[in-house]
Symmetry: D2
Subunit: 320 residues, 4 copies
């Protein structure tokens, strides 16, 4: 397990129905930087991203999750990951270098809960925009942070990512009762709160991609910027503090409904004696530390996910 | 009219049912500074306040607005105000120096819409806490900014404050239709957006007192501070940007339900050619520029107001 | 005196040697909005400015102060001001409407200390950019706030502005000793710390124009933005808190050396019992509340000022 | 090498001459939380720290660095570290559990450049204050971030930490010339800019301990708080943006002269193709991106370091 060494969540790839509309939202609205584009793909990155893309948009007939991608430490780690998925008879597909633009050889799989997941090691470098402050725009996104997935079998998903892929748990939420029954878990590889959040829900569905920004004021500025452009209906869940993760957040939806969390305020999770923080589902400060409930759309709406081989959308079913 | 010279809204006096609970909220929660107290009264002020109080809490059997108070430029202005209210046969009462603790001679009246309003010129000075930063706490409130009143007859109230008392209008909201019909108005004496907001509603009721803080980050810190203390249910309307007034805000309720707005982001309104900004009631960015609706309680709940002579609460009736 | 009613400092007009370089600095660097320009003039304004200009740049052979301008409440007030300056045998000149682009009839004078000062009432309105947040750039300047003038005779200047023009004093600094001897004074017409700061120095020289921004974070962002563009040498005095005025500031120099203060954190000064705050020149927290000394250039360099009739620069001499 | 697995810099231990004065500075000024104290020791931690201490103060005759401490992943890693230092004939000393209060078994060594360094795996847990926002005070320090050491032989130190202890380089500075000659290096184990900065200087001396805060506004608030308390002379280098590391910073000195950096604005450094950022010593934006020079004291003053066996201060000599 430890020799796989997944570094971190590295990018998300979203199927969108109108690439021009999506570009307007992500480039002019959120301020992501366009590295490259063609008629069917748009590759974007954050201010701190040194590689080709941390968000990839793909023209498609309907919106869905194309895949999320983790970066691993070496080509050997990639081979070992392939063996793990093969041995479990899960769908896998090897991509050649540049089959995904700018990216090295990659492994694409369907994880046990049905999520399309990619692993890769190498990616083309790009110009680092970190200190070109005068070119930072919109939400001034620094980098991708995490993916949030709605899974039907939370226990299976939790065990898979912890035991097989070496993730660690920073926080989790349980249904209260005589015994703790898991509702959600925040898992990480990089030493922050998460690379991957898992929630027990109707699934498989993709809830949101989390991007890191520098501070809370930047999130407020992003709201003003989006609302000034006319994107006020896209600000779905207003800025607030999460109980779980302690992050300051806002949630916005792109023109297809893909959800982005702008997120700041992390803490360090890699000490050998770190004990995951336990939340009860009923805790009124869990979702929002300041007490407000997420809106209905945030609680109920999420994206279907695509099969890595057939391209079909996976059937959405109740949790087990 | 111009020789009255009302300077600004100076303080609010609220009837509260439990002075200890109220003190915990306003002093430890919001960080207002206690100037003085006795068993029935608590006098508080902000960081920038050079005088005895900008908030006065009075022990009472039920919560209501005791009065709001404007400061005027001279004792002569006070006399002229008395004549205006007398000539309109409105209830008035003269208070001796120190009848309200720390305050000079004062005029208390019931305005034409039923609101208990006080005017005074002199008040005891206190220690200025402006640069004692290490003693600033909680919401780090700098000073009072405005009062928000729900009136039955908005046209009458508007004319009274503009024509008789010399207020000016910075922004207003209308029911859309063939002709503009007034729904709300933001009136000022000091050159900011408002000292007094008037809204057509079931009334007379007092909606909130607005206090100025330095910046948006301070408002977020205040939410964390209140939620850390357990006051998360008191954060009624989450932080956001108003369309009207362009202010960044949060609304909190004290243990009796009195509403406070923490507020920042004003602009200058005293140029001779300032044209009031017009809003349509239907504009989705009017209440919150970022699109979110205020919660039901914010739209529906407000405080009764007290008669200055009898102490009884005024009957609450539908708008005309 | 009281019938003059100066509203506030309204704009500054600076002579610059290279209009293109100046435009790059003020428009792309500081983010001021260009209202209009011709080959010899550039008219800029802040985000909250509803009128034609709050900064005017004029192509000239050498950098100097062309004039600072105050807005008055009425045309009659303008006439009375003309009489005051005439009766003192000070140089005056009447400008026709649009002689300064977008501006109504104006009075230009040389004040007793030699400063070129303009008074006017009317100015063309422009589009208000306040809520077009997506178009706010650079330092996101909201509006002009104050002018800082180095005068040879501080006592004369103080008396003139207080007694003749109705300014009020918010703070002042004295040489310590048996008796207070005035070194500097912060004077205002709008109810903030200042419209005009006067400092006893080699003069007459113009030290800086102060512009208001929303909060301290915006000032830090402005430094990053300017430094990202390569303007790091133009950041003369790093961000800090003033003792006097309590403002958070940064000072930047334009390509000709004209100095701009970005400034936030004001307080209200119009209460009838406001007592000016006294500072001793020796107080180590006076200039910077955090203790740092201003750099030599900030203490020693300032702009010559132009004669309103001859266009010549006034002779610079030691203080009296 | 890879089986050592140092997690991160975990705490600093400083010798101070007056424990009460030091406590006032670190607890009331910087807002660190006191976990435990006796007449000769004070143990403090940040808001996010889940263990006993991240700063330890020790009563001593003169100020110096007692040691800095790294946390390792396991007791086995500790043993292997002991073997490395033994095999190089460097001074080592094993500490029993609780010999340093709250800490497990530990290895203390003198590194090849003379710095007293500790390694340990286990430490007592404490109450996590992360969401007790109402108890956060002063600089609201979240956690320790890095140590900055002045070494005589930068090449030897660089190789030691990279090759023997598995550190990675995020940024470095060179004397410009025909060939790059190393002047300073930023080394990390956790995936941020650094756990350890090395600078070629008169040494061995300890320059500063860096603590993480949430955002730039918090650093400005900390300056106001310290200056309000009278600690304005302790604010040595005013807030600004570093070129190297891209962090926003302020440097403060404790009553003995120990230097603390309050620091925010990090980026992620663990991708397999991360290329260290190269700076030239002559770059005017290197030390401060906004162009200001550090004050003389910051460039010249630093603390002697103590021998782990004799307790004597190491002789300070010019760089090689």
């Amino acid at each position: 397990m430890s020799d796989i060494n997944i570094i971190r969540l590295h990018h998300a790839a979203l199927n969108v129905t109108d690439l021009e509309k999506a570009r307007h939202f992500y480039e002019d609205g959120l301020g992501l930087i366009v590295t490259e584009s063609d008629g069917r793909h748009l590759y974007l990155r954050g201010i701190d991203d040194a590689n080709h893309h941390s968000l990839m948009l793909i023209k498609a007939g309907q919106p869905s999750l194309n895949h999320i991608a983790y970066r691993v430490s070496s080509e050997e780690a990639l081979d070992r990951l392939g063996q793990i998925f093969l041995s479990e008879n899960l769908p896998i597909r090897w991509l050649d270098k540049d089959e995904e633009c700018g990216q090295g050889r990659a492994l694409r799989v369907q994880d046990p809960q049905g999520f399309p997941v990619e692993f890769f090691c190498g990616m083309e470098k790009t110009e680092l925009m970190m200190q070109k402050f005068h070119l930072h725009r919109g939400a001034k996104i620094k980098r991708i942070d995490h993916a949030n997935c709605l899974v039907r079998d939370i226990n299976q998903a939790y065990d898979w990512y912890i035991d097989k892929l070496g993730f660690m748990c920073s926080e989790y939420t349980v249904y209260s009762g005589e015994k703790d029954v898991l509702w959600a878990a925040w898992l990480h590889r990089k030493p922050t709160v998460h690379d991957l959040a898992l929630i027990r829900e109707v699934g498989p569905r993709y809830h949101h991609t989390g991007f890191w920004v520098d501070d809370a004021k930047t999130i407020l500025d992003a709201c003003d910027h989006l609302a000034g452009m006319g994107y006020y209906l896209n600000i779905e869940r207003p800025p607030g503090r999460h109980g779980t993760s302690n992050a300051f957040f806002v949630y916005v939806r792109d023109p297809d409904g893909h959800r982005t969390e702008l997120f700041t305020g992390d803490y360090f999770t890699n000490d050998p004696d770190w004990e995951p923080i336990r939340w009860s589902l009923e805790d009124p400060q869990r979702a929002t530390f300041w007490g407000a409930l997420p809106p209905k759309s945030w609680r109920e709406e999420a994206m279907p996910v695509q099969h890595i081989l057939t391209g079909e959308l996976l059937k959405i079913e109740p949790p087990v």
